[in-house]
Symmetry: C2
């Protein structure tokens, strides 16, 4: 009897997969990326150490570093003496001040843009209020194209080349097609975001890519959490809808077609409130912004007045909660319980080391978090919630755009040789 | 403003992480594993090709292959000519007939054992009925130790060295401690399985490791599915409880402490049936074996007679379903609907390419699967269920033990140099 375990397609179940370079040129590209990622993840180090750590010969490393220096992606710094003998080695470190990645987030009421150079310094940032729901998609795309175009022009004028742009959008998106299939909160269905922006921006535009906002938020949160050695986390953001992004063992979990992280429609309240998706009792009807407003205030309360900016209405609720208003506090307790119900389910399925709450959950975090932690501990099947911590996001509105800027630079880390081909600088 | 993205702990978000060998000896071990995994995953190939694909120098590959041959892990086969010129190269392939990994599954009513050699040939197998629920844990451990001990003795007598044993157990397990914390279906709480077996087996025993049965089942199913290029799947097994194992992008998703995949207690039926966990309306109260029996037959029906073997009672239900009995068919429809409700949630969160149904779900699969597929398609937020296919397991009772045997060999693939140290053959 033969168990076919060595089937061609089986990927390694351990940590490191074998490199799969198929020819010399792609092997070289792959090695350039290997060195660049090592410098990003582990910091500046001399060439001899890079050779040791990558297992590549020293002569190869010398060539690779020279090519990376030529592309402007790394630089050689101070001489450093290793131990007491031998030639001093100069440390190699990420440079890349002449290239950048851009992240742009479109959400219900704002447009946010951020640009990182390869050293992860923020070199451009803008946050613009925008009524995405009340505008035609074409008008929103006009505004996005304007923001991207102006930023690219300004950066190029400073000698910085934008290598790519990641667009963060809410809802179900097609990563390959660049289409927002369905985003109930901004009322979009089948909006061709990437094509629309490409047409508007013309041939000078950097490559554009679309990704779900909560996934990019999860990446941004992971960059923070990883400094505490946390490599499994769920980012849960509460806005009109509830979005999620999952980092599992240091990787963004996309699923087979990029649709993973759709947590807002878990059927946790059968027969409950109607949901924007057409069903009833989805998790976001229990814990989304509409639920907070509904639970916290009678129908004639001014916080329901949609002519008033949402931010002001939330500030008012925040003020009441801080003042100990019983109705507001009770509403937040209900939200905390609903939140814990869904989070416990996700913790059972995914066993994260951390759950990071973003959006309005972070805004009301101090009123929610203790109760959420207690309920989670009581609900999760594994002892002490499987060691899962509940944290509040500190990135505010910039999380998704930050994750987008980081992802935009990923193409450079995967294939650093591509930079010279597109860069005019 | 500085975004600290190059923090020391951030792991690569792309596919390939940099190797992290810290010295020559561990680099060598890591390279031995790299070559061995390449041969497992991609099949026999000449040394020159291994050098190309790993990026390691040919002289290094020659040394590594010689060491693997010495350990009995690979062999050099027929000469093969590449293209029309050059010296013919001999292909290198996995050998490893003198070592094996063992998987042992303990479940409610059986003990299953399987051994694979490094070529993935099954070289030992046994399946023993066992009343785990009606026995003291110590008595069950006695039986397990007996099965493992006898198998190891028999294999050693044939010159085969067992490198490790993986124990598959239901419920929440501590991978590091080797303790089954909580397994409601066999009535275990805090049973020190690894220590108990180690004491019984004595110093000659191979290293023992404990893992959740559904996770190991998922690995076994993945080894099948990967041949169809499926690398994201959820294995869902229906027994008294409902267990799950998740493969994401070709890796077993364990979560931060190994507790991931706990899907049986999703709160999908508030106020529903009482669950073994002490709460009400958990998913397994809707779709576990008890639900099927309850829905399919009146309380006085003979299928509830616990003095009759469960297998016979299920065969009777199967017979009724095949004969078109309306009550049985209606019960199976209810199960299919409940199944689809939870599977759609999991498909939204994880976007798998396939869901593989095991346990009794597979046994009644032809009566369930069409309805599950239809409901899933209607429920999942992404179009066409995010391309998720529902499949029936074909591995039967051996899935978890198979996954265990495969995992037991993993130590060899991670560090092939360890084999000579423990092997007496």
């Amino acid at each position: 009897m033969k168990a076919d375990l060595r089937a061609a397609g089986v990927r390694d179940l351990g940590r490191q997969g074998p490199p799969r370079a198929s020819d010399r040129a792609s092997l070289r590209r792959s090695n350039l990326g290997l060195v660049l990622r090592l410098l990003r993840d582990a910091g500046p180090r001399p060439r001899t150490q890079i050779a040791d750590e990558t297992g590549l010969p020293k002569a190869t490393i010398t060539n690779l570093v020279a090519e990376l220096v030529e592309h402007g992606l790394v630089r050689e710094g101070e001489a450093e003496r290793h131990g007491s003998v031998g030639r001093p080695g100069r440390t190699v470190e990420i440079d890349g001040r002449t290239i950048c990645g851009i992240g742009v987030e479109i959400n219900v009421d704002y447009l946010s843009l951020i640009a990182f150079d390869l050293r992860s310094d923020v070199i451009a940032e803008r946050h613009t209020p925008l009524d995405a729901r009340g505008s035609e998609p074409d008008a929103v795309l006009d505004r996005m194209a304007e923001a991207i175009g102006e930023t690219c022009d300004a950066l190029r004028a400073r000698g910085v080349h934008p290598v790519a742009v990641t667009i963060a959008a809410p809802g179900v998106i097609g990563m390959d097609t660049g289409v927002v299939s369905y985003a109930s909160n901004i009322g979009w269905r089948d909006v061709a975001v990437v094509d629309g922006l490409r047409t508007r921006l013309g041939p000078k535009a950097p490559p554009l890519r679309l990704e779900n906002d909560a996934k990019l938020g999860a990446i941004a949160e992971y960059l923070v959490a990883a400094t505490s050695d946390i490599h499994d986390l769920i980012y849960v953001t509460g806005e009109t809808g509830v979005g999620g992004g999952i980092i599992s063992d240091g990787r963004l979990l996309r699923g087979s077609a990029g649709f993973a992280g759709e947590i807002g429609h878990m059927p946790l309240d059968p027969g409950g409130q109607p949901c924007a998706c057409g069903r009833q009792g989805c998790w976001e009807t229990m814990v989304g912004l509409a639920a907070l407003l509904r639970l916290a205030a009678a129908p004639d309360d001014p916080v329901h007045d949609t002519t008033v900016d949402l931010e002001h209405r939330l500030a008012e609720l925040r003020r009441r909660a801080d003042a100990g208003d019983p109705a507001t506090r009770a509403a937040l307790d209900r939200i905390a319980d609903g939140l814990a119900l869904g989070l416990a389910l996700l913790a059972d399925v995914l066993n994260p080391r951390a759950i990071v709450l973003g959006g309005y959950f972070a805004h009301f975090g101090d009123h929610l978090v203790d109760r959420v932690r207690g309920e989670l501990s009581a609900r999760v099947m594994a002892h002490e919630a499987g060691r899962c911590e509940v944290m509040l996001s500190t990135l505010g509105f910039s999380a998704a755009a930050r994750g987008g800027a980081y992802m935009a630079l990923d193409s450079v880390y995967q294939d650093p040789s591509g930079v010279s081909a597109v860069s005019g600088v």
